[in-house]
Symmetry: C2
Subunit: 341 residues, 2 copies
């Protein structure tokens, strides 16, 4: 048995807390940071975090702190799991505490509004951290917290980070795969939430399994084209962070983005659909950024655009889905995986 690692998890939402629990069960020393002292007290004293993981008893080894400096006392690995729109502010708060030799992995599936930056771009802009990675994949937190089986992906250019994450998280119930396409994985994470919104709309309108599979396939096609145009490895779209995560989001009733899509499809206004979820649905923010990146690469991406129009309240769900029925049918996906000449 190897030495326990000292791991800091920044963010005590349902994914950060689930990761902290897995790390503690794997025998590592975990500090989880939340800016909320009451939440820290609940974790440290009651060993629960009922709002984000109802019914789960947290391991004693999960220790919570609300002081960022304390959370970062000599960690072997830093995991960050906060909403994408809070990420830059956290990076700024982090900057005085981190050093170039720190290993930082973010676990966020979104892009920054306005700048359309990926989380690794924001991390590089705001801190001196050099060695970074992204954790992604079909990982519904509640299932992992309940010790159900899952596969996840660590994408990084740094073998040491991949090895650390595998050592930290791997167990019989969580298998950690490796990839190198950081930006490709980040774009997958953002785009799959947009596709999940569309899948929820199709479900709300009861269009059937053929229509849903058609829409998911077209979504995967648009995602793959985006990766190719952006200079990423298009085959990343086929893997756990792309197709895998898109599928889990489309089939699980626990997916937030899918639930927001269902609500929109039932005619519930966006603000109400979001507040009924009680957690951040990243796809609502990501849609504009995914469309903007697509346009920047001169791509026509009718599915992403259709979702964005619904979110802007420029189109009803029926109107948006009607445009998808009228897609040019000349070609299927062939050649989509080659980079444009």
């Amino acid at each position: 048995v190897s030495e326990p690692l000292r791991i800091s998890v920044l963010g005590a939402g349902n994914w950060g807390t689930t990761l902290a629990q897995r790390l503690a069960k794997n025998g590592h020393a975990v500090q989880i940071w939340s800016r909320n002292p009451d939440k820290c007290q609940e974790i440290n004293e009651a060993h629960t975090s009922r709002r984000v993981l109802p019914g789960v008893r947290l391991a004693d080894a999960v220790r919570a702190v609300s002081d960022l400096g304390a959370a970062l006392a000599a960690p072997d690995l830093i995991l960050i799991a906060v909403p994408s729109q809070s990420f830059r502010a956290l990076c700024r708060a982090l900057a005085p505490w981190v050093r170039p030799e720190h290993q930082v992995v973010h676990c966020i599936k979104g892009l920054e509004r306005g700048s359309h930056a990926t989380m690794s771009e924001v991390l590089h802009e705001e801190t001196c951290v050099l060695q970074i990675g992204v954790l992604s994949g079909p990982n519904i937190a509640a299932e992992i917290a309940a010790d159900k089986f899952a596969g996840t992906l660590i994408a990084t250019r740094f073998p040491r980070i991949a090895a650390l994450v595998r050592r930290a998280l791997s167990c019989a119930q969580l298998r950690v795969f490796e990839g190198a396409d950081v930006r490709g994985v980040e774009l997958c994470g953002a785009a799959k939430n947009v596709i999940a919104l569309a899948a929820g709309m199709v479900d709300a309108l009861e269009l059937g399994a053929n229509a849903k599979a058609f829409l998911l396939t077209r979504g995967l096609y648009e995602l793959t084209r985006l990766l190719a145009a952006a200079g990423c490895d298009p085959s990343t779209a086929l893997g756990l962070a792309g197709c895998g995560d898109m599928m889990v989001t489309a089939i699980s009733p626990l997916s937030r983005n899918h639930r927001v899509g269902v609500a929109l499809g039932r005619g519930i206004p966006l603000a109400q659909a979001i507040s009924s979820i009680g957690m951040v649905a990243e796809g609502v923010y990501a849609a504009e950024s995914v469309c903007a990146l697509s346009r920047a690469h001169a791509l026509d991406q009718p599915l992403f655009e259709a979702v964005a129009r619904v979110l802007r309240e420029e189109a009803t769900v029926e109107q948006a889905l009607a445009t998808l029925r009228e897609l040019p049918t000349r070609h299927d996906v062939s050649r989509s995986l080659r980079r444009p000449a």
Copy 2:
């Protein structure tokens, strides 16, 4: 409005009958062939085919014949939708009637047992037909018969066939896409049924959405590797015939292969699982062929092999799924889409 086409549909199962109905609704003259005179009489007189499409009234323009020569009187297009294991016998019966200038499209998702041949290979071996195509995609027949929206794919090297199929089948509710990778689409059709069996097993064991998405992703990865190794276009796996059809099979309770997988996962013996479906579940036959083709290309395909072991009754479902938990995790899918050097 263009002239109606004269179209022969060979095979009056639920897919052949659904296609005939769509063609008739689109204004074409349809002859559907069944070797069963009673079924022909039911179609011609009652305008139903209750065993395969319960509750559906067939269009008057769907005419059934049990004489193969009569079915093939001067068609503009021949569609074949019989079970894969009956296909060679039908081709032999067809051989005296077809001519090199005929256009033939098969709509079959399977491989021939023993030879592992695709349906287009069998058609070329047994007839003089030159211009062929394959129709595939996420197309649950009952949904299409109920006029629900779907996308489908015609793969062919012959633009005239693609144009004919688009003219014959396209409508607001059925969008026909084009591809050229005939063999790739045929391998997708066979392999996705094997993956569907595995997805059904995961559902029966209630392993959760993360596990199911993981398994589907690994299945798509094995399929993509097979296409690349077999000289097909690996991006076909991303399209309607690959990922699209895999997803519909995994999410629809109407999918036969998925239902057989669920039954096996509940410990029901194979023979009973098959007979409870009342229709052919192609994946049961395809598993050995997909494994044999993979081995012929020196590929290690643990998911396909695991399903085959369950079907051979060499492993329980639990044992088979346990091997998938122990897959090497070193790499995700990156580079899987490049052909081996």
